[in-house]
Symmetry: C2
Subunit: 125 residues, 2 copies
């Protein structure tokens, strides 16, 4: 049975590892996409996978590139200009660290949900 | 062995369940704290657990209360005015839904990290 959480453990729920540049939902979505596609993704593919507009995707990619998390490559495919987006090595490491912190959030929440509440609980359907 | 992710599965990494009002780090921190303390937390306890300033905690609590996720109670303890913060029933449900989506992010990222990359991988130390 989980122990009740103490009420004074400084920063116990601060989740400092949730790096702001990664945590924003659109950027998290982009990073999860490129992390899952080792060869990189085209701008148009990313747009679809993340359901972002051109403008928003462009802005977020600039932010992520400036933070050193992704790199973008300009090229052509079938004669048409394309942008390829890849996770950097540093980006892969920082994304992994971020995900480890997310796991801590999930673990905390699961433990809370499992803890006895002293109230009547709905039967598990 | 995990299948490679297709590059065109609309919204596959959009994570629409990451509700903005919950996802912001300070608010996520507050919600995780109160979710772990069924009887609620005093403002001062929350401040410590989340490592937030008075001003920031106040603002975030207003946002969370307006969104129906938490409720605040004014009272006194040992003669001193105090604020007690509790998760609402709706807040508990929405926080659980949010956490389920976070778990999907973690699962996606873990699968990416486990997928063969065709590159030399560092030996696991």
């Amino acid at each position: 049975m989980p122990k009740p959480e103490p009420k004074s453990d400084p920063g116990r729920f601060a989740y400092g590892g949730l790096e702001r540049v990664i945590h924003e939902r659109a950027r998290l979505s982009i990073l999860a996409s490129v992390a899952a596609h080792d060869g990189g993704l085209l701008f148009t593919e990313l747009k679809g996978l993340c359901q972002l507009t051109d403008g928003n995707l462009s802005r977020q990619l600039t932010t992520l590139a400036e933070a050193g998390l992704v790199e973008t490559w300009k090229g052509t495919r079938n004669g048409r200009p394309q942008t390829l987006v890849k996770l950097t090595a540093a980006g892969r490491k920082r994304f992994a660290d971020y995900i480890a912190e997310l796991e801590a959030v999930v673990t905390d929440a699961r433990r809370s949900a499992a803890a006895p509440t002293g109230r009547t609980r709905p039967s598990t359907a």
